[in-house]
Each structure stands twice: as structure tokens, then as C-alpha cells.
Symmetry: C2
Subunit: 424 residues, 2 copies
């Protein structure tokens, strides 16, 4: 029995998928909806399959599975809704849509008794969505920390390994096609934020949307931040972090924290060695312990490979019957960034005189921030010393208050850098 696919969109991922489906005996592509039927396409695309009428593709009787690789909210959302309501399973690679309307679409799928698959929406070829939805379904997940944007990881790798400035590394990423002409979505953390929202929603059954995610990008990371971090034994990575608080009977309301920001990752941590445009997602489960999933987070073929896995899953479900229900998603409170705990590395210039450390330690103590490690270096031929310390995890608000208190201390001449540190 051959199953028919209706393909919505035929860019890099759609084109690669057409090639992969050609090798699968039980699948055939019935029609491909595109914006322009006259645009030049790769050799594998049979031009007689092209149409501009996407709704008609969804509605065809011989289309059993709908694959959406258009991207963006509309018309993808309406087309997917129509497909699900017609009882057709849908496979999408659309992170923006799932991060904003995932709960709504999963409800439609649930009501229709069909599956909505979106493995390719997070971290390309890496099967993190299936791992969270299936393998770790019963696992209490404490935290997910991921390098989920290849563009920024490429830029940070260049800065680290070649000492390049941010602007130089960005220009190279643009030249190589890793970064868009307008790189905002990548470098300011919007893309990683959408993926963090999706992972948090699945892992914590929490219905987190993209707008819930605090994000800071990498445009403020300097070559000297990176050099400084390396000297201390850390790599700077843009991390998407989703955490669950008080999930296990501890006092206080059950809530989640989801954020994207650069962080210092200790060299001994598996995420530290994820280089170039590779992605990796590190999962901390109560019973499973530490897990990491590594691979290509973008690109036509890797993403199409994830889409194909989902299509074959949908095909098996259609042929054998059955639909895997989604875990109930409740709207859990989102912790504001001010309340989210982080460890920080702070690099101060201070007057080199007795009693300085006591004053700095006093400002930390007053604001409830405790120190995990500290070192002081005299700066030659000057009356200035450098004080570097790493804190234990403390709510971001308290760290900000501490920095304000440093500003009031005459002995503190400058705050050279403040970076979050992965750990604890």
C-alpha cells in the first residue's frame, strides 16, 4: 500500500525531502504547493506536481499525510488545521508556528484523533522531540540546556578559535551562508527562544510560547570575554535553558523558567566541545541522569531526514491504526527572569588596598549572593587589582542589586564583565 504525501513548500528542506522520499517504496509525493510554479527547482522535482493552490493539496483524496515546510504562522496554521480536521496526520518543520500555536494545533490533532509531528522544528536532524515525547515520557526532567542555533555557535567558535571579533565572525558566517543578511533572529536569540519554548512545553507539559522566553543574544559578547572565559577553563556558548521548579513536592508553586543567553560552560561539560554549526541538547533527568543529543541542527538534508522519520511514523500509524495521545499540557506559571537562579562570573577592577575584599564580600552578602570561587591578580605598575569571582546560583535580581551596590563602593573602579555560568 502506497501512501500519498501532500507537500506544502519546496525550499531547501522540501527539495531535499523529495529526494529522500524517492527511495521509500511505500511513499509517494502527490502534489507540491509552492508560491511560484515557474521558479527554477532542483532536478529531482517533477514540475507537473507543482501547484500554487495549497488548500487543494491538503484536500486531495489521495493525500494521506500532509508535510508543511513553508514556515511562518500563516498560511501554515490554517492549512495544518484543515489537514488535521480532515483526519490527516501532519508533519511540520515550522518552529515559529509550533512555538506560538503548538498547544492549539495539538488540541485540534487530539480531537481529530490524528498525530501532529514536529521533530524537525527543534535542532534539525537531532531526534530530541521524539526523545522527550516518547523515551523520556515518564521521566521527571529538571533541566534542558541546549545549543540550538547553529549560526551563533559557528560565530562563537570562530571568535574562540581564531580570536576574531564578533563583527568579523558574523561577516564570515554571512559569507558562508550560515547567517542571513539580517541576522537578528539568530544572533539575538529569537530562533533559540522558539526552540526552547517547544522543548519546555513537551518536557514539562507546560504550554510555553515563544513570547514567554527571556532572551539575550551574542552581539554583546566580546573577544576579551571569550579570552577571559578560556583562561578560566570555560567556553562561551549561547544556551537555551528550560528548567522546572518545585516539581517534586518541594515547597512553593510549580513553575518553569525558560531563557536564552550566553553562558560560560566548563570545559569538562559535554556542551563545551560542541563546535561550529553543530547543535546539542543536554537533558538532566531525575532517573535517567545526564543525557546529550548532538548533531546537525539545520540544513536541507539533515532537516529533511527528521521530516522523513516523522512521515514514516505517521505512515506506520495510518497502516496499523492507532494515534499516540499528547500528554495533558497545563499552563504552568513562567518564572520571570528576575527570579531565575544563575551562577555568575564577575570581573572587577578594584583599588589595590587592604580591606577591599571585605567591602566587595559585604555587598555580595547583603544581597544574599554567595561566592563559590575567587581569585585576585595585581595589575603590574598600577594601584589597581583585578578581582574575579564565580557565585553560587542566585536569583538574577539579587545579582543586579549586588552590581548596583558595587557601583556605590569607591574601591570598585569598574565592572569589566558579568557572565552567567552553566552549572549547579
Amino acid at each position: 500500500m502506497t501512501l500519498g504525501i501532500g507537500l506544502l513548500g519546496c525550499g531547501t528542506v522540501g527539495g531535499a525531502l523529495v529526494d529522500l522520499v524517492a527511495d521509500q517504496a511505500e511513499l509517494t509525493i502527490r502534489q507540491v504547493a509552492v508560491r511560484s510554479t515557474t521558479k527554477a527547482r532542483s532536478a529531482g522535482i517533477d514540475s507537473s506536481l507543482l501547484t500554487t493552490d495549497a488548500a487543494a493539496v491538503v484536500a486531495r483524496d489521495d493525500v494521506d499525510i500532509v508535510v508543511e515546510v513553508i514556515g511562518g504562522i500563516e498560511p501554515a496554521r490554517s492549512l495544518i488545521t484543515a489537514a488535521l480536521k480532515a483526519g490527516k496526520p501532519v508533519v511540520t518543520a515550522n518552529k515559529e508556528l509550533i512555538a506560538n500555536c503548538g498547544a492549539e494545533l495539538l488540541d485540534v490533532a487530539e480531537e481529530a484523533g490524528v498525530d501532529l509531528h514536529f521533530e524537525a522544528a527543534v535542532a534539525g536532524a537531532i531526534p530530541i522531540v521524539r526523545a522527550l515525547r516518547a523515551s523520556l515520557r515518564g521521566e521527571k526532567i529538571r533541566r534542558i540546556s541546549g545549543i540550538v542555533n547553529g549560526t551563533t555557535n559557528f560565530i562563537l567558535t570562530k571568535m574562540t578559535e581564531e580570536g576574531a571579533d564578533y563583527s568579523v565572525a558574523l561577516a564570515e558566517a554571512q559569507r558562508l551562508g550560515y547567517a542571513e543578511r539580517d541576522p537578528t533572529a539568530d544572533v539575538e536569540g529569537f530562533d533559540a527562544g522558539a526552540k526552547a519554548a517547544i522543548m519546555a512545553s513537551i518536557a514539562f507539559s507546560a504550554n510555553v510560547v515563544a513570547g514567554d522566553v527571556y532572551h539575550e543574544g551574542i552581539s554583546g559578547v566580546t573577544a576579551s570575554d571569550i579570552e577571559f572565559a578560556q583562561r578560566l577553563g570555560y567556553q562561551i556558548k549561547l544556551l537555551a535553558i528550560a528548567e522546572q521548579f518545585n516539581a517534586d513536592g518541594i515547597e512553593g508553586p510549580h513553575s518553569v523558567g525558560v531563557r536564552v543567553h550566553p553562558a560560560m560552560v566548563p570545559n569538562s561539560h559535554p556542551l563545551a566541545s560542541v563546535r561550529d554549526s553543530f547543535n546539542a541538547v543536554f537533558v538532566e533527568g531525575m532517573a535517567s541522569g545526564e543525557l546529550m543529543f548532538y548533531g546537525r541542527g539545520a540544513g536541507g538534508e539533515p532537516t529533511a531526514s527528521a521530516v522523513l522519520g516523522d512521515v514514516l511514523d505517521a505512515a506506520a500509524a495510518l497502516q496499523q491504526g492507532g494515534h499516540r495521545p499528547t500528554k495533558e499540557g497545563s499552563r504552568l506559571p513562567i518564572m520571570p527572569i528576575d527570579d531565575l537562579p544563575s551562577a555568575f562570573c564577575v570581573n572587577l577592577q578594584v583599588t589595590d588596598e587592604p580591606g577591599v575584599l571585605a567591602q566587595v564580600a559585604g555587598a555580595l552578602g547583603t544581597n544574599g549572593v554567595s561566592i563559590r570561587a575567587m581569585e585576585q591578580h595585581d595589575i603590574e605598575d598600577s594601584e589597581t587589582a583585578r578581582l574575579i569571582f564565580i557565585t553560587h546560583a542566585a536569583p538574577e535580581r539579587q545579582l543586579r542589586q549586588t552590581l548596583a551596590a558595587f557601583g556605590e563602593l569607591p574601591v570598585v573602579q569598574g565592572i569589566d564583565s558579568v557572565l552567567r555560568v552553566l552549572g549547579e
Copy 2:
């Protein structure tokens, strides 16, 4: 609706599973088959559930899912067969059984229309089995290279980081409970071989059994091998490698190669940074590109976490109907180790005189082995030099013939080490 579990075996994994199941509202453990009902057990085990009659547990009307964590071939095989024939899905963590009788048991499951799950049989908490069976179902996989034995990885890490001798590191692993009193199954590669057979069978639909796997352990790895590899920028790891040849229309018969042996892994490779008792599986797919899955490969809780994921999958299938068929497994030819291609690093002592390199290169060329990199060091105050070279991949037979030819050359004073190199 609550589903009943019949648990066969209650050791470390079974005990941890009992605790995890207690948190799952839709699951309950009906009965637990053990060898002795009087042995002391952890607090979570209700002693009234214990019985020595495993067959009766399988047969109970209120047991919907059978979980087997006894290990070994019998009675596990008969019990699982009985459960499947009774239409009950089975979850097992038994690598020995699946590596030897997996195809037979999957046939029984297929005929009965129920699922046999065995995520926990390979690499503990790491969801590699589901990744290969589901996410990568449509992927053409070239090669899988895994660190799938935590004991040997712990020993090699100790040897690397502390310069310890093999016997010292083994003794420490035994003291910490990572290695058994008789460590043969781990250190000689039998355990890793069973896991390699299972992964090859799924990835290549190939029905590979444990006995098909060539294996060399780590007992021959010396502290100086490790030091030498490190100086060249490599880590020595025990790798389980499963490869597919001529799968993509290339000349020659379609076949698979499956083997376990120590290998030099370049520091830049993701497997190089997998330390201590962690496991990781590196997958090279044609479309997906490079993927790696990292985590705890053993231990009660991580393994039980993988069992729980499978149980919840089986529960969803029971509640929603449907059974996922296994890919057809054909008995593909197994490449003998002599024909399997590897790159090698060879460390020779040679006479320090003109023309030596030409003689050594001649022996390589005659046997069809080509050099990728070479370096020569004079050994001070002697007429001896050290010649180190890394070959391109060549069949093992040709490398052996080359080494024999070296033995005939008067200028070759000794072959200090020969190690396989991951790559190409």
C-alpha cells in the same frame, strides 16, 4: 484505566523500576517474580507481590505488560515468548537475549501483533534503540561507532588521566563496583559486542547475532599506548563499530561489518570527550549527517528510566490500539575481520640510516597500504630512529601482511605498537 505490569526479576534495575512506576498513575505492578521471596529487598518493594512462579506472573489476566529484567537466555526467552504469544507487549533490558535471539522474538511479536521493546538493552538511559527504530527508520546509515561499555571507558579514562596501568585501573573499577570480580565480559568486549549486534540488526535490518561480532578487549592496552596516542592528539577508546558496505548501489555484495576493539579517536571527535563510565553512540547517516547520543549506559535508575519509557510506549499502544511493525530483517553477509577496512597507527623502531623510509614505504606499497601521515624522530645517543605513521583505511589482512613484511626488513628493529584509528 490502569494497566497491570508483571515484573520478572527484581535486582538493581527491577527495584529502581518499582520506584519509578509508583509515580505513574496509569500503571501498577501486579506481581514480581524473583528467585527468592525471603531475600532482603529495598523499602519500595511490597513483599506480598513477590512470587517464585514467573510463568504464573506472565499468565495472570490482570497483567497487561510483561517487563523482563532477569537477564541471560533462559528462562527469559521462554517467558517472553509465552507473553508475546498471549498478546502481551514485552519490555526487556536483556542484551544477551536480544543479541542472540532478537530476530526470533521479533518474529513471535510480529505474528502476535504486539510490540517487543528493548531500549534498555543498549546503552542504558540513552534512547538509541528508539532513535534507530523510529527517528532514523528511513535513513541510510553508513556507520555506528559507540562507546557502549561503561566499565572499560572508566578504566581507559583512569589510565589516560592518571597515567595508571591497566591492572591498577581495573582494580579501582572493581573497588567502586563498576567492574565485576570476573571482568571478562566487559574488558574483553563481549558486552560491547552484544550491543553492537543489536544496533547493527536494527540499523541495517540485518539480523546480526553476538557471535558474528569480532572483538578485541582492552587488556592489551598499555599506559605507553595511551601516552603515545595522547601525544599525537588522540584518546584511546573501546569502540563498537557497525558498518554497512555497498548499500547504495556501489559494486559488490551488500554486507555488514561489526566489531569491537580499542581505537585511537582524534581529540576533535565528539567521542573523544566521553569520559568515566559514560556511554555515547555516534551515528553517520547519509541525510542526517553526524549524530551523537550520550548518557549513562548502566546503573539501576538510568536503565529503569529506559524501561519505563518503553512501558509507557507499550501502554499507549494498548490504550490506543495499533502495533508498530518491525522492518524486515534479512540475513546479510557478515564481513570477516580480515576484509574490514581500518586506518592504523604504527610505531616502529628503525635503524637510523639513509634509505630506511624507502624500504618501509616499499613494504606498505607492495601490500596496498597507503600512508596518510608520517613522522620520524631520532632517538638521542643511538643509531635508532622512531618512525610513526598513520595509514589510510585498508583491509586488516593487508595491514597484517605489511607487518609481516616489516619483520623481514633488517632495518626494522621492532614494532612498538599497532593501533586502529577512527576516521575516514
